[in-house]
């Protein structure tokens, strides 16, 4: 019989925390790239393209993340592709984050007055130049607080990947609980560890929001 000391529990959870952080970063960066592309399509595309982007966002915001994970995980094998929980989780969370970030950023860009677009296009700036020099510098100020706030949601979302067998903090907590029969202690610690990751982000997001309001 292998005995788990408190240190073993803490060490294993901390090691698993690396995966929670890594997956959060993958999802956030991947989601940011896909999201940026979708925002551009949403702003410049024809009606059909805009409709597709809207449908994409609605699909991800109108179904449970848990089912999205199942669909991606089983979808891979459906198409005959080998997959690991890490790949499925990364793909799914990237798509999930991109849908939300598209909405957040579109809101930021659309909050910029029409006059700014008109004035900059009267200076013969191309769409890229308008974005780069006129719209984005202003839109970033509006969008940064909700974007940081959304990072909290991404970190919490990674907990669900435990269900498809990816060993991050939640799954590690389950495994250790099965070995030690101390669910109160372990899930309590896991909760506090998530709190330690998320609270600074929430707090920073609130600071940014207040700065903007002033």
């Amino acid at each position: 019989m292998f005995d788990f000391t408190l240190w073993d529990i803490a060490r294993n959870l901390l090691l698993a925390m690396r995966w929670t952080i890594a997956l959060s970063l993958i999802a956030f960066i991947g989601g940011g790239l896909v999201g940026a592309l979708l925002v551009v399509l949403r702003l410049t595309g024809n009606r059909f393209v805009r409709g597709l982007v809207m449908l994409y966002v609605q699909l991800f915001q109108g179904t449970p993340l848990l089912l999205q994970l199942f669909l991606v995980y089983f979808g891979f094998s459906m198409f005959g592709l080998e997959t690991t929980p890490l790949v499925a989780a990364s793909v799914c969370l990237t798509l999930y984050a991109s849908a939300y970030l598209t909405e957040i950023w579109r809101g930021g860009i659309e909050s910029i007055e029409r006059g700014q677009w008109e004035a900059s296009s009267s200076l013969a700036l191309t769409f890229g130049e308008q974005m780069r020099y006129v719209i984005l510098p202003q839109a970033v100020r509006v969008g940064i607080a909700p974007t940081v706030g959304f990072m909290v949601q991404v970190v919490k979302a990674t907990a669900l990947t435990s269900v498809i067998g990816f060993v991050e903090m939640t799954r590690a907590g389950q495994i250790i609980t099965n070995a030690t029969f101390q669910p109160f202690l372990i899930y309590g610690s896991v909760a506090l560890m998530y709190f330690a990751l998320c609270f600074p982000l929430s707090w920073y997001s609130r600071v940014l929001e207040q700065k903007l309001r002033r």
Binding site: P64, F70, F74, P183, Y187, C198, F199
Partner: protein, 218 residues
């Protein structure tokens, strides 16, 4: 690759049962969670300092931890303290606690946006504090934040899918059962995702209809 939905649809009674439980779970938690959340929001904007601090700690703790961990803590962890619950009770408790924390922040922003003049006017009409809150402050506050509140309820409904992990027999639990006895994982989850989408649209419509009609007036 061939998709075969017939095996999944043949098990519609399971899906229906699961859907009914998801609806029950959502509506029940929504009502209690909203009431509790409004209470917490009130304490956080008007209560004594220690109470504000307690509610603040609760809200931050819930908002910065994943729902699945809250659920596991309640279902697997609390029996250690002698608090044993069935899966369904634990699911309801977790949903209520989770929703109330978010509603508390939403309600607070609505309550704090009430102009002082309205409260002073109500005081000059000799309304007591309870009357002022329920008749003067709350209805317009709810009206202001209703869209955000509706969004939060939809999030709770979608989040309740996680309750399948402690074997509460809601829609996703039914999906897992059908998937494992039909070996049609992908098709099952497509169908069930469609059902959730339907539920989300229906819930949004329902709340947008109920709000102006019965809760805060037009």
């Amino acid at each position: 690759m061939t998709l075969d939905f017939s095996v999944v649809l043949k098990q519609w009674p399971l899906l229906l049962d699961g859907m009914l439980l998801t609806i029950f779970l959502t509506l029940f938690s929504a009502v209690i969670g909203t009431l509790l959340g409004i209470g917490c929001g009130l304490v956080r904007s008007k209560g004594p300092t220690w109470a504000r601090w307690c509610v603040g700690a609760y809200v931050e703790l819930i908002r910065n931890t994943p729902f699945i961990i809250q659920l596991f803590f309640i279902f697997f962890g609390l029996p250690g303290l002698g608090l044993k619950m069935t899966a369904l009770t634990a699911a309801i408790v977790a949903n209520v606690i989770n929703l109330a924390a978010y509603v508390s922040e939403i309600a607070r922003s609505g309550i704090e946006a009430t102009p002082d003049g309205q409260i002073e006017a109500a005081q000059s009409l000799a309304l007591d504090r309870w009357q002022i809150f329920t008749r003067v402050v709350l209805p317009p506050a709810l009206k202001r934040v209703w869209p955000t509140l509706v969004g939060q309820m939809v999030i709770i409904m979608l989040g309740s899918a996680v309750c399948s992990q402690i074997s509460a027999e809601e829609l996703t639990y039914a999906a897992n059962q059908i998937a494992s006895n039909s070996f049609r994982n992908f098709e099952t989850y497509i169908v069930v995702a469609g059902l959730y989408l339907l539920l989300a649209v229906a819930l949004r419509r329902l709340l947008n209809w109920v709000g102006p009609r019965f809760i805060f007036g037009r």
